[in-house]
């Protein structure tokens, strides 16, 4: 058991500490950092999906007033390492995907840079490219591991025999589309190279991650790279793994040494340069007895990666832990295509991977004539099906039952298409959610600056999640002082090294480091420690992971209305009930949960990147055509949680909550749409044409 911090500030709805600076417009995001004598970068992007640059004519562009220099592979500084081919910008004449960075104009104004970029003439030798995902492709391969390091395939028992022996079976395929994170703040880097020192004001989920990633690529000692990111306008994974634009900004800064280079991707550029979620094709097989007890669960996934760099989304991984079924099989097969590099998008793996199976479970429940909530409860495992370890805490069934009560589930006639109100077909649906409770390694330092003034330094990031606020609460409780005595500093490589804000690991990792530092301070310097006392702490390995499987769980409920004549689909109500350990801050947590659920609604009804496979081009690459929900698209969305006392996960007893809100939400909506209409929807997003019969 991990020694627990006694919660005083933890669990209170402290107001967001960065709120005031954000509502006054004074919180400095990367592009807004004050620099002198700025230059502006506008990139040149490839207009073919595969081939070779044969000629570059920059004469007309260079003749523009205000153009400082134009970089291409011909004249760009050489990188120290091109091993990461996503980051190896302007190093060869090869084009590996449409939209790839192949040049950069640096100019005195952004307008000039942009105009000049449009005047750079590129000639190509174009080669036949591959951009079509299909489960029939002959070149599908098994990755060595899936993100971050799970085995690609698992096989336990005998699924085929169980399928042929079972009275009720299902063998169906589901798909999720190409999706884009689209944080509101576009990816931005302001780079200044001065005397072998590189400063990056970056919009990133991890200042230290940027430093350690960029250093070997450009060949600078990491200590000479200074990254600062105190405020970040959202990330959702796309700012987790540093992308090529950061390296391009660094190269440009080196070229115009002494002058800062400001580079913000446009919304359109983000669609080829900032990562995306791979489309997935998911075959799900289930076998059950007539009482609805699963004897087999198989989840076989086909998805894409880029030939430039492999990213294997762990789509089938959640199927290893959710339901008890003695015979289980999961697999991942990849098509390596001439497309931009896929990456993390909120709950990679769990989010798409809980769509197929959670719709399949709804289909099985109907086949067995069992209520979908009850069906899930009957398949609740006693231990983690994958490892055989007990769960440190698991309240999935409690979430389902509490959600059913609050949502009014029991009034529901289970017959599909049985309820019509003034021309609208009405239905309700449910799905489970699960997200692993992980943690990384970080270091925090605490210094007693004055009486009642504890300065806490950790290179963590707040991408809108509430890190400034939650870590202050954790630090206060760890030090056993009021929050007003804590002065937290985050977002800089000048601070002790911290892990990326990703995988819902932030509070668990950084909070544990802060608790370790506070305990070291008290152990070394007594209570209260003298002014000037200082101590550091690092997140230790958690020995409890040897004994326990650790996950957060939840239940998603949705009401869907489908217009009988037009197929218009509305979601007037969503409810999520989550069990995620101790909630650090109910105000910020509630917003995180419903924000995740809304992104799940977005996945269900709106989001799809339309790839024109002839050109390798995403045609709807902006907010005009890649739709995310507006205020008028959502209804009453609420989230609540079950308090869990889990002394095994970390000293706060807290599980990560940034991602679980999206998991299962799209399945709940698809299941509700089926209940409303009787039409089973196995392909996202759900659009009116699919609902017209």
């Amino acid at each position: 058991m991990t020694s627990q911090v006694t919660p005083y500030a933890i669990g209170t709805a402290l107001q967001r500490l960065d709120g005031r600076s954000k509502v006054t417009g004074t919180a400095p995001y990367a592009f807004e950092r004050v620099v002198d004598n700025a230059t502006y970068l506008h990139p040149v992007q490839a207009t073919i999906a595969l081939g070779q640059i044969t000629a570059i004519d920059t004469a007309e562009a260079e003749a523009l007033d205000g153009v400082i220099t134009i970089l291409t592979h011909v004249n760009a500084p050489r990188l120290a390492s091109t091993e990461d081919r996503e980051l190896a910008v302007l190093q060869t004449d090869r084009v590996s995907f449409r939209g790839q960075l192949i040049g950069a104009v640096i100019a005195d104004t952004p307008e000039t840079a942009r105009q000049a970029a449009g005047l750079v003439r590129i000639s190509y030798a174009q080669w036949p490219h591959e951009a079509e995902l299909s489960s029939e492709r002959s070149d599908l391969y098994t990755p060595e591991a899936v993100n971050p390091s799970f085995p690609a395939d698992t096989d336990e028992g005998d699924v085929d025999t169980a399928m042929s022996a079972a009275p009720v079976t299902l063998d169906t395929t589901y798909t999720t589309p190409l999706e884009y994170n689209n944080p509101m703040e576009p990816h931005t880097t302001v780079a200044l190279w001065n005397d072998h020192e590189l400063t990056l004001y970056d919009s990133t989920q991890g200042a230290h991650t940027v430093r350690t990633t960029v250093a070997p690529v450009i060949g600078l000692d990491p200590e000479r790279i200074h990254v600062s990111a105190p405020h970040v306008g959202g990330g959702f994974g796309s700012k987790g793994i540093p992308h090529a634009h950061i390296v391009l900004a660094a190269l440009a800064a080196r070229t115009v040494e002494g002058r800062p280079v400001k580079f913000a991707l446009t919304r359109q550029q983000m669609f080829s340069l900032a990562g995306h979620r791979t489309p997935t094709i998911q075959r799900v097989r289930l076998a059950a007895d007539t009482d609805g007890r699963l004897s087999a669960l198989a989840h076989d996934v086909v998805e894409w990666t880029s030939k430039v760099k492999e990213f294997a989304e762990q789509t089938a991984v959640p199927s290893r832990n959710v339901y008890a079924a003695p015979n289980r099989r999961t697999s991942h097969r990849l098509a390596a295509l001439d497309v931009p590099v896929p990456s993390w998008m909120r709950a990679p793996g769990e989010c798409p991977g809980m769509f197929g199976p959670e719709v399949a479970v709804d289909e099985m429940a109907l086949k067995c004539g069992i209520d979908p909530v009850e069906f899930r409860a009957r398949n609740e495992p006693d231990v983690d099906p994958e490892t055989g370890k007990p769960f440190s805490s698991r309240h999935l069934v409690e979430c389902l039952r509490e959600g059913a009560d609050r949502f009014g589930w029991h009034h529901r006639d289970p017959t599909p298409a049985s309820r019509t109100e003034r021309g609208w077909l009405v239905g309700t649906g449910v799905a489970s959610s699960i997200y692993p409770t992980l943690r990384a390694v970080s270091t925090a330092t605490i210094r007693v600056e004055a009486a009642d003034h504890y300065r806490v330094d950790i290179g963590a990031t707040d991408i809108g999640t509430g890190t400034w606020t939650a870590l202050t609460q954790i630090a206060a409780d760890a030090l056993e002082v009021p929050v007003g005595h804590v002065d937290l500093r985050i977002g800089e490589t000048a601070q002790p090294e911290a892990s990326v804000a990703g995988g819902s690991t932030g509070n668990a990792t950084w909070g544990t480091a802060i608790v370790e530092a506070a305990r070291a301070l008290q152990d070394t310097h007594g209570r209260p420690p003298e002014i000037g006392a200082e101590a550091s702490g690092t997140t230790p390995n958690n020995p409890e992971t040897e004994r326990f499987a650790m996950f957060a769980h939840g239940a998603q409920f949705a009401e869907v209305r489908v217009h009988a004549d037009t197929g218009e689909i509305r979601v007037p109500r969503m409810l999520g009930v989550f069990a995620a350990g101790r909630i650090i801050n109910p105000r910020t947590a509630h917003s995180q949960f419903i924000g995740g659920m809304t992104m799940g609604l977005s996945m269900a009804l709106h989001e799809v990147g339309v790839l024109d496979t002839r050109f390798g081009h995403v045609v709807n690459h902006d907010f005009a055509e890649y739709h995310i929900p507006t205020n008028a698209d959502v209804g009453d969305i609420d989230a609540t949680w079950i308090d869990e006392d889990d002394p095994y996960v970390n000293p706060m007893g807290a599980k990560g909550i940034g991602e679980i809100g999206i998991v299962g939400a799209a399945a709940a909506i698809a299941n509700a749409a089926h209940h409303a209409t009787g039409i089973r929807l196995r392909e996202l997003p759900i659009t009116p044409d699919a609902l017209l019969r």
Binding site: G233, I594, T598, T630
Partner: protein, 159 residues
């Protein structure tokens, strides 16, 4: 051109302005007012919402030359010397701020809404703010904030 216009009640000037550059660029890069955000540059997301002669507009779609001798109000002009405006306070109190990038545009849009319609219904709020995309909050807290701001403004008007 030499651009002269009023920003948040004060006269502003900028030299060597290209008439075609966006008002958003003028505000952010020439006048040091970075509150209005650039998130789509096509008038779809509302992050750059300002008021132009009192009318809500996306600053990314307004050419610099169009604001000559006109009045522009940005998020920086909402607060008084020491005190936040009721809309700003409500966004903080209701927890309607997450990453904060959509926040300035939403505040200007909400301020504009409450001026036109002091006690809006939920559907009026949702419709009026449908031009301001938020990727973090799911909008519920923003609804709470606008309701709260409307109540507080009504309260202030009574007292």
């Amino acid at each position: 051109m030499r651009l002269k216009f009023t920003v948040n009640g004060r006269q502003a000037e900028a030299d060597d302005v290209w008439e075609g550059e966006s008002l958003l660029y003028v505000l952010r890069e020439r006048l040091g007012l970075p509150g209005s955000k650039n998130a789509c540059e096509q008038g779809e997301c509302g992050s750059c919402t300002v008021r132009l002669d009192g009318v809500a507009a996306c600053a990314c779609l307004v050419a610099a030359g169009q604001v000559q001798d006109r009045e522009v109000d940005t998020v920086e002009g909402l607060a008084g010397e020491d005190e936040l405006d009721a809309v700003q306070r409500a966004f903080v109190d209701a927890g309607a701020v997450q990453c904060g990038f959509c926040t300035p545009g939403l505040l200007v849009a909400a301020d504009d809404l409450l001026e036109r319609c002091p006690s809006p219904s939920d559907s009026e709020i949702r419709e009026s703010l449908a031009g301001n995309l938020c990727r973090c909050t799911g909008y519920e807290k923003i609804m709470d904030a606008v309701r709260l701001a409307a109540d507080r403004r009504a309260e202030e008007a009574r007292s």
